[in-house]
């Protein structure tokens, strides 16, 4: 997970090379896409585990007993809206509009924080209803899958805020707009993964 933050760092390893790379893509962008490719396999493994175990509740609560679908739908909506604000941040960065870039980055981070806050609330509620981490195979695989996703969102928030601070103090080495774009790629990926997770966990009955 920290590796994703590391991508922030790689964003300026090689910006000079973008003009004459063999593929025409900058090194950073190519590296980021590859990294997201590896993330697909990570979430693929976690999702497979969940799908295998989602019906195995043992003596613990069943999914339908604990899930609050309207609540999670709202927090999912918030996360999806953060993709929109991220796009606006990238667009502003390409126009070299620092004020708007900063604003949209902060709003994106706030929306992300709302989502993570919702997840913390949800986890607490589940725990109080008798669904702990080790209650059943269902609960363990649920918490691992959504927890990994939550950590990814959290890392994204840290990157957004760190980037905002670095932009403000003019501390971004390398291309500013490309750095914003890279974090945008990561952020959209995390959102798309959530669409899949939300559908599989909450919308399709076990």
């Amino acid at each position: 997970m920290w590796f994703t933050l590391d991508n922030l760092a790689t964003a300026h390893d090689t910006h000079e090379g973008a003009a004459h790379s063999s593929t025409g893509l900058s090194n950073v962008k190519l590296g980021m896409w590859l990294f997201l490719g590896t993330e697909c396999l990570l979430f693929g493994g976690l999702i497979s585990t969940y799908m295998l175990y989602r019906g195995r509740v043992g003596t613990g609560p069943r999914p339908s007993q604990v899930f609050d679908i309207p609540f999670t739908s709202v927090s999912s909506f918030v996360l999806l809206m953060s993709s929109l604000t991220m796009v606006l941040a990238v667009s502003a960065a390409h126009k070299r509009d620092d004020r708007s870039t900063n604003l949209w980055l902060v709003i994106t981070a706030l929306l992300g924080t709302t989502f993570v806050g919702g997840q913390v609330y949800e986890f607490t509620a589940f725990y109080n209803e008798g669904m702990g981490f080790s209650t059943s195979l269902f609960s363990s695989s649920f918490f691992v899958l959504t927890g990994f996703h939550g950590v990814h969102v959290t890392v994204g928030i840290i990157m957004l805020l760190a980037l905002r601070g670095m932009l403000k103090n003019n501390k971004v080495p390398g291309s500013r707009s490309e750095t914003v774009e890279m974090i945008g790629l990561y952020w959209h990926f995390v959102d798309i993964v959530w669409i899949i997770i939300f559908t599989l966990i909450y919308l399709i009955p076990a």
Partner: protein, 665 residues
């Protein structure tokens, strides 16, 4: 490229490569390292060649560690009722032998070759992300040391390198060994993942002008395939290792049958990683011998596109064969049939390669150097291992062979006879390039024969042992159950153990060869083998910036085509010597090449990983401390530009020794 090139001035001036002179902290939190002497030039380096050598040295160290473990295993089994190891220690020994050889020897050794030679082969000055490259090395080293730390802290992992559930759970494996193993592999996995992304971007993006994909040397191609396999295989085992950690430390029951779990989940996740891993281990060696065989046959590689595409085909089909490791687990007839067929199918591209290598030799002017001997050894011994592999594809026969020494024989023929011999071929072939000195050929020949004879004595009898039913991981055998006559298990076990000692002599001769070569080895000529690819188009060892000017590539085997041209009769005639080719590059040298600057952050960031993992095993405050190191490293890294700003590179003035000035031509 992570290089700042200043405009070349019109008057001819000496090429100057300068290290940053001013330790400025324009962006970073602390001043960046500028010392280019002593230990600091290694610890903070981001140079792909230094990192390549560090990878190789680390891998060689772990090769010796894993070798000692192997010898202890063989000594234990040499005679009936072995007393050298007890059952528990024996379990740890074979687990760590395999783990060390796979993750800490073959993979890093291949990574070392890749790091060193990929930029040289594609005509680049460094990799795409030099600091990530440094980070990958340190993570690998710390991960390897972390796994082995368990020997001193209550015992190593003891569940076999595949760590099958439920045997890996806290009930059957109560020591912290499995935890060290799990976390250590996570760290090494991060190293592999970052390395994979880095090398893929390097190969795809940083090729010299004219270096199309189908003009790339085969070694580069095979490494590219391997990096894709790594990039997509490592995340799967990452998931498996996380699940295992959560089971061992936080009370989850992912692999606990009593709680209703499916232990096959581990096997699937492990082998979805584990089978591509097999190709991750062997393809780099395939790449190496595809470089060596044409050079010493004085012929181009036979069917270059076939070798490329069969390598890529192995990369694809390698994802569809994992369950052949699980034929005995009751998958059901359909799955077994599918995986049987795919396993037979993957033998085809491998066979294509063997045919290509053989036809490369056919009609060539063979030059039996040590590198060539190792390469031919690979063709023969890997083929034996490949054939026994095909017998595993036949599921009924495999069910009989599962968990016997026949399997041990098979994978040692492909991994030792294949991967290891290929790597040794690479040592002898590229040693002059890396160190500017020739390894002793006479000693090399002894090295080769001891290793080949030793490996056949060790692993050959295991076919017989396995077919007679000697199970793997058995820590003792008794005389009264050993059978009689030709099939007496005792006799063949003794032969195998003697063979392992012969192998030890072979490896020892290699170390002796390194030593005497370093002491007073023959200085290597510029082009000792009459080589064909770009890495030979620079000095021995290569300059810090690899090439004075980046060559424009017009052919596959560019270096060869600069030395030879067709005459009127269609015969290849030498038109230039290697020295002349190099001189031409030097005459067009770029002025002021600024290489990526050294950095403190890769090693700091990597060091945070084992600290965090140690904390996760023993005390949470330590884990938090480790997390803070990681956080600090990440931010320090993010704030530091990869290449020092222009103002840090002063024009060199006389008498200033803080600058590393290279005058060329």
């Amino acid at each position: 490229m992570a290089i700042i090139e200043r405009p070349v001035s019109l008057e001819v001036q000496p090429l100057i490569v300068v290290a940053p002179a001013t330790p400025s902290s324009a962006m970073g939190a602390v001043k960046r390292p500028v010392v280019t002497k002593g230990w600091r030039q290694w610890v903070f380096t981001v140079d792909h060649k230094k990192l390549g050598l560090m990878y190789m040295a680390t891998a060689m160290f772990f090769f010796l560690v894993g070798g000692i473990e192997a010898v202890l295993i063989r000594l234990q089994l040499a005679l009936p009722d072995g007393k050298i190891l007890n059952a528990d220690l024996y379990n740890q020994m074979f687990t760590m032998h395999a783990t060390t050889m796979v993750f800490l020897f073959v993979m890093p050794m291949a990574a070392g070759f890749a790091n060193y030679f990929i930029p040289l082969q594609i005509g680049a000055r460094d990799v795409a992300f030099p600091r990530i490259n440094a980070f990958g090395f340190w993570a690998l080293l710390f991960g390897g040391l972390f796994i082995n730390l368990s020997w001193f802290l209550g015992g190593a992992a003891d569940g076999g390198w595949f760590m099958y559930a439920p045997n890996s759970g806290p009930i059957f494996s109560p020591s912290h060994g499995v935890d060290f193993w799990t976390f250590g592999l996570q760290i090494a996995g991060i190293a592999s993942l970052t390395g994979a992304i880095n090398l893929i971007v390097t190969v795809l993006n940083m090729r010299a002008p004219g270096m199309k994909l189908m003009r790339m040397p085969i070694f580069t191609w095979m490494i590219l395939v391997v990096q894709f396999l790594l990039a997509f295989a490592v995340p799967v085992i990452t998931v498996a290792l996380f699940l295992l950690s959560f089971q061992r430390n936080f009370g989850a029951t992912f692999f606990d049958v009593a709680a209703g779990a499916d232990p096959l989940l581990w096997q699937h996740l492990f082998w979805i990683f584990g089978h591509p891993e097999v190709y991750i281990l062997i393809l780099p060696s395939f790449g190496i011998i595809s470089e060596v065989l044409p050079v010493f046959s004085r012929k181009p590689l036979f069917g270059y596109p076939f070798v490329v595409f069969s390598g890529a085909a192995i990369g694809f089909v390698g994802w569809g064969v994992w369950a052949h490791h699980m034929f005995a687990s009751g998958l059901g007839p359909v799955s077994v049939a599918v995986f049987s067929i795919s396993t037979m199918a993957i033998a085809v591209p491998t066979g294509v390669k063997i045919v290509n290598w053989t036809l490369t030799l056919w009609g060539g002017k063979l030059w039996f150097t040590t590198a060539m001997k190792f390469s031919i050894g690979l063709i023969v011994l890997f083929t034996i291992g490949g054939l026994s592999g095909v017998t595993h594809a036949v599921a009924p026969s495999d069910t009989q062979q599962t968990d016997t020494y026949y399997i041990v024989a098979h994978f040692h023929y492909v991994l030792f006879g294949g991967a290891v011999l290929g790597l040794f071929s690479g040592f002898y072939y590229w040693w002059p390039k890396m160190f500017g000195k020739m390894l002793n050929e006479k000693l090399g020949t002894w090295n080769f024969w001891f290793m080949v004879v030793g490996m056949n004595l060790t692993f050959g009898p295991m076919h017989i042992l396995g077919l007679q039913g000697q199970p793997r991981r058995m820590y003792q055998w008794t005389e009264n159950r050993a059978g009689e006559g030709f099939f007496n298990l005792g006799f063949w076990n003794l032969i195998a153990s003697i063979g392992s000692l012969v192998l030890v002599v072979g490896v020892f001769l290699f170390l002796v060869n390194i030593y005497i070569t370093a002491r007073n080895g023959k200085v290597a000529p510029l082009d000792p083998w009459g080589a064909r690819s770009l890495e030979w188009m620079t000095s021995n060892p290569p300059k810090e910036h690899n090439f004075d000017s980046i060559p424009t590539v017009h052919h596959l085997d560019e270096f060869f085509h600069r030395k030879y041209a067709e005459d009127a009769n269609g015969q290849m005639q030498q038109v230039a010597t290697a020295e002349q080719v190099l001189k031409q590059l030097e005459d067009n040298a770029d002025a002021h090449i600024h290489m990526p600057s050294p950095s403190y952050w890769p090693i700091i960031l990597a060091f945070g990983l084992p600290v965090t993992c140690l904390g996760l095993i023993y005390s949470i405050p330590l884990a938090i401390f480790g997390g803070l190191i990681i956080l600090m490293g990440t931010f320090g890294w993010a704030l530091e530009p990869s290449t020092a700003p222009d103002s840090d590179f002063d024009p060199p003035s006389s008498g200033d020794t803080s600058k590393d000035v290279v005058h060329v031509g």
